[in-house]
Amino acid sequence: MAEQAFLDEIKADPELGGMYTEASAALEEALGTAVLEEVRVAFLGRKGKLSVLLQGIKGLEPEEKRRVGRLGNLLKGWLEEALEEKGRLLREREMGDALAREKIDVTLPGRIIPTGTRHLLSRIIEEIEDIFIGMGYRVVEGPEVELDYYNFEALNTPAWHPSKSLSDTFYVEVPGTGRDDILLRTHTSPVQVRVMESTPPPLYVIAPGKAYRRDVPDATHTPMFHQVEGLAVDEYITMGDLKGTLELFAKRMFGEERDVRFRPHFFPFTEPSAEVDISCNICGGSGCRVCGGTGWLEILGCGMVDPSVFGYVGYDPERISGFAFGMGVERIALLKYGVPDIRYFFDNDLRLLRQY
């Protein structure tokens, strides 16, 4: 109301009132910040109308001087505020217009940033490693070119065992040695023997790595493949511990909803021995083509370390006991991801690599 009051007073004054009307119209007509600046200069610039008027009051009668001075300053204050207000409006509008002109097609594809992948087999090996690391295991490694002793003999495999034949095992010629008992390890189990030879119990280790068998490649065989071997040796390790450990592993790896079963089996280096199955996830256990109608999928072999293996490495089977297990990484990959052919893993076809 106060504002209104002084505006009425200004309007009542012929000169100031005219200036007010003129300024209001100019403000109204200013459609851009540049024009608005012209308006400011025209009224408030050093030679602007209002500035000149205010400079001119020096010569007026004291009362008139006070009245015109007061109203002139009020008008100046009003005009400054109005310019500010209008300026803000115009700048906003102008920025809006400018941003609108900068419109882009946001649906164009983003810049290609190259992304690579880890091999599925590496991923699975690391997943297995991490599960066992969580249970207190260390990861150990051993040579891929091995001696018969570590691959067979110290694992209690009799000299006449068929798996040692030239049709099952790759034998290797190393220049400079005349030995004929050098081979490509047929499993990662020899690492067990090497670790036990060099380390006293207790021992909780897994040994991932490549293994080789003289299989002609087909959908489920390749002459090179990957295994993860596990070994726990301590006082009072029981078959119950083996079951508990591998059940935990299988559920972590394949899902808590999976059933796990242990079937008696035979391996030369463990006794008792077992094969471990998980319930088939394709048919949910009712039987299908993938599980051969049994509802179960075999995932690994295991057992209690045979006392004669302990004998080879100088452990006393009366004082300690242990379990060992071994699993094929490719098989786990086939089961977990439904890859139809094991050979695909070694083609390194980018169209497959990119999927994982």
């Binding site: 690579g116 070119v145 049709s167 010629e173 078959m239 242990f262 109608g293």
Partner: protein, 804 residues
């Protein structure tokens, strides 16, 4: 091993359904891999009684039959020569389907209606017999289901018998398991021999010359045998086990093998000279022709069954052609022996001659069961071939294999398996599979049982073997899952393993795909890459029994595998290939039996690094992409002392290749594949590759570097553009700048390289951005100006460079 449940019932009652039985067997160690229901395809066939047969008026071979098919009489036209009134034969009524898929319809054959078909064994799909219709034995009721009359409905379990369980390679052994699982007793076959004539020992003499390889050789003599077809029940049983029926005498040998696990062999006794059997090793170079008509060259490793004139059988593997039982055979010598398992395995493998007999001998048959099996075989020949069994078995024993006595401590089972059993429970489990406890001894807090192990379980040799038997009979599923009471072990990766994972993570994060290639390569690759063995020495680790030449050398480098993977992708029109691999290579190691297996890191970049995009051009891979990749990897691992110097490698482009060193040690190479190599390998010429020693990289990768002050005062940037001769490498320029710039010069970055018309020929211009700062103050202009001047002077003096 295929187990017919119909047959199995001879020895044990089946008290559970086949599926449940399969689960029980699987859970006790004899895995059932499949359950097959037989006879379903024969459900629609019925018994027909041929009442009347007339010949067809206009077709000689056809007969018009009136056949009682149960409740009605059907007219059936039949072409079989053996059809006659009064016989019983299988009938396929209209609407039924033969095993070969033919659907039987009512039809008119040469003008006469025929309602169904009389069937031969071949048409029934049960044998090769097609000469006439099948004649059913006895007088079965017309119209009844054929499968009921022939006992065709059966369930067969396909067992996976582990190599340690030879006892389960026969019906009786499996029956023993089933009996134990269902708490019954096994029924052994009962039979009565009617021996007649002079004792067998007067006809046959057996001499074992190698007692190590043959502990026992028992023989029976059967005379007056009439060779013919075995009765239906026996043929059906053999077929259910996957064994082809041949003739009654041969079928009996197979039948007893399947029943008792003891392989038998029948010789035509008239063809065995003087009835004299000699068991001996072959002489090197000796030859014989086996039943399959193949002449075998033998060595002293092979055991033979001979007569005085030479070999008549390869012991335990296959009989000889010269003494084979044939249609004219009447006198049979029946062999039931025990051979050394390892020797039979060797012979069977060396001659690539696996047989049902060798399969059992090499796993171990029961040495105590020889005579019993011979008797059983003789009995069946007496019954089925009208043979007369001569009194007595000739039983030659080179040595006696006695039952083994084993001790099992009750606490041992508890400690290894984690189950608490009373000693009488243990004894009961063992007793259920005929392992008799013959002594019990209390020692302190333990009970020790002494167990007699029958000779049909050669796998049970140690206490642990008995512990396993107890565990599997107790049931693995009943063992409580627990976790080891671990003392205090810390599960972790080694620092090296952590770094290895990190390297793979960095590389894949930068856009490379991890490859896994085969560790054996073709020697052709080495010929292409390095024919003179300059970088990849000629001393190589080779496979002695490679599957193919393509996979015959253990890789001395990751390069061949990576190149092959690149080719694989290019051949499938995947043109931009960025691969890396972490893997071992194999290098012979002086003085060591095993090769060195250093782990390498390699990568290969082919095609474009980035394709053309809507707002930018394509970016090639090439040398500098590879170099940048390696530098970025080193930088992300905080590797100090990575350096690349010009070097020549036989397989790399001679002027676009480097040796890589880390901390002054030779680590590997980086460069473009030599165009000549690329051409031979079908690779694009611009393929860039790198391979370095992973160990060196990991050693140089700092796990944690000490804190360095972050500059608090502003840095000063200056640009420096110079012109130098083409012969001067950027590295020389940069080293000169750094050397002259003093400690305030913190960064030197090349941002432009120009060659062209504004410069004289043989000159190039390099532009660097220099960054100066001090940690304790704001630099004054003079300080940087002085440093800049020193740099310019040094560049001029050392390299003849001038400011541009």
């Amino acid at each position: 091993m295929r187990i017919s449940l119909d047959w199995l019932q001879d020895y044990v009652d089946l008290t559970v359904e086949p599926e449940e039985l399969a689960e029980m067997l699987t859970a006790s160690g004899t895995a059932v891999e499949g359950i097959e229901h037989l006879g379903e395809e024969h459900e629609h066939f019925i018994v027909g009684h041929v009442l009347e047969v007339k010949s067809h008026p206009s077709a000689d071979r056809l007969s018009l039959c009136r056949v009682d098919v149960g409740g009605e009489v059907a007219d059936i036209v039949c072409g079989a020569p053996n059809v006659r009134a009064g016989i019983y034969s299988p009938v396929a009524p209209p609407g039924s389907r033969l095993p070969d898929g033919t659907v039987i319809k009512e039809a008119k054959i040469r003008g006469f209606a025929s309602r169904g078909m009389l069937l031969s064994e071949m048409e029934l799909g049960i044998s090769e017999e097609a000469a006439g219709i099948m004649l059913l034995e006895g007088e079965p009721t017309a119209g009844t289901r054929l499968s009921d009359v022939l006992g065709m409905r059966d369930t067969v379990l396909d067992l996976e018998v582990t190599p340690n369980r030879p006892d389960c390679l026969c019906m009786l052994g499996v029956a023993r398991e089933v009996a134990a699982l269902t708490r019954q007793k096994t029924r052994y076959p009962v039979f009565a021999l009617h021996e007649a004539g002079a004792p067998a020992a007067e006809e046959v003499k057996v001499e074992i010359n190698d007692g190590a390889l043959c502990s026992r050789y028992a023989a029976r003599v059967i005379e007056g045998a009439k060779i013919g077809l075995s009765p239906w029940w026996m043929r059906r049983r053999l077929q259910s086990a996957g064994v082809r029926p041949i003739s009654n005498v041969v079928d009996v040998t197979n039948y007893v093998m399947l029943e008792l696990g003891q392989p038998l062999h029948a010789f035509d006794l008239d063809l065995v000279k003087q009835g004299h059997i000699i068991v001996r090793r072959a002489e090197d170079g000796e030859v014989m022709t086996t039943l399959d008509g193949v002449e075998r060259k033998l060595t002293s490793g092979d055991l033979l069954i001979c007569d005085p004139s030479g070999p008549v059988a390869m012991a335990g593997v296959m009989g000889g052609e010269n003494t084979e039982v044939g249609g004219g055979t009447t006198r049979v010598l029946l062999e039931s022996a025990h051979f050394d398992p390892a020797n039979i395995m060797r012979t069977s493998r060396v001659h690539d001659l696996p047989s049902e007999a060798s399969y059992r001998f090499e796993r171990g048959v029961d040495p105590s069961g020889c005579v019993r099996a011979a008797d059983r075989g003789a009995f069946l020949m007496q019954e089925l071939a009208d043979g007369v069994v001569r009194p007595g078995a000739v039983d030659a024993r080179a040595r006696v294999i006695d039952p083994v006595l084993l001790r099992i401590r009750n606490n041992r089972t508890a400690r290894l398996i984690g189950i608490e059993l009373a000693s009488d429970e243990t004894a009961a489990f063992l007793g259920s599979i005929d392992l008799e406890v013959i002594g019990t001894e209390e020692t302190g807090d333990d009970t020790v049982l002494t167990v007699e192990v029958p000779t049909f379980r050669p796998d049970l040799e140690r206490e642990i073997d008995l512990v396993e038997e107890v565990a599997r009979l107790y049931g693995y599923d009943r063992i409580e899952p627990t976790l080891p009471r671990t003392s205090s072990n810390l599960g972790c990766l080694t620092p090296r393993q952590v770094k290895r994972r990190e390297i793979a993570g960095v590389l894949s994060g930068m856009g490379l795909h991890e490859a896994v290639t085969l560790a054996f390569i073709s020697p052709r690759w080495l010929e292409i890459l390095d024919p003179a063995g300059v970088h990849l020495p000629m001393e190589r680790v080779r496979l002695r029994n490679a599957i193919s030449d393509e996979m015959s050398v253990m890789r001395p480098s990751l390069l061949p595998g990576l190149m092959e993977a690149v080719c694989f992708n290019l051949n499938r029109r995947v043109m931009d290939v960025h691969l890396f691999e972490l893997g071992r290579v194999f290098l012979p190691y002086d003085g060591e039996d095993l090769p060195r297996e250093p782990e390498k890191l390699g990568f290969a970049l082919a095609g474009r690094w980035l394709p053309k995009q809507w707002d930018r051009e394509a970016e090639d891979s090439g040398f500098f992409a590879a170099k940048g990749m390696l530098e970025a990897l080193a930088s992300s691992l905080h590797v100090q002392g990575l350096s690349l110097r010009r070097a020549k490698m036989p397989f790399l482009h001679p002027s676009q290749s480097c040796a890589v060193s880390i901390g002054g040690l030779d680590a590997g190479y980086l460069g473009l594949i030599h165009p000549g190599v690329a051409e031979k390998a079908d690779l694009p010429p611009e393929t860039a590759v790198m391979e370095i020693d992973l160990e060196l990289l990991i050693l140089a990768a700092q796990t944690a570097s000490p804190y360095q002050d972050i500059p608090r005062f502003p840095s000063i940037q200056m640009d420096l553009a110079i012109v130098v001769g083409e012969g001067i490498d950027a590295l020389e320029v940069e080293e000169t700048i750094r050397g002259a710039g003093g400690e305030l010069l913190r960064e030197v970055r090349l941002f432009d390289l120009y060659r062209g018309e504004q410069l004289e020929a043989g000159q190039k211009s390099l532009a660097y951005s220099l960054s100066f700062y001090a940690l304790d103050r704001t630099l004054r202009d003079e300080e940087t100006r002085d440093a800049y001047d020193t740099i310019v002077t040094a560049l001029d003096r050392k390299l003849g460079a001038r400011l541009r």
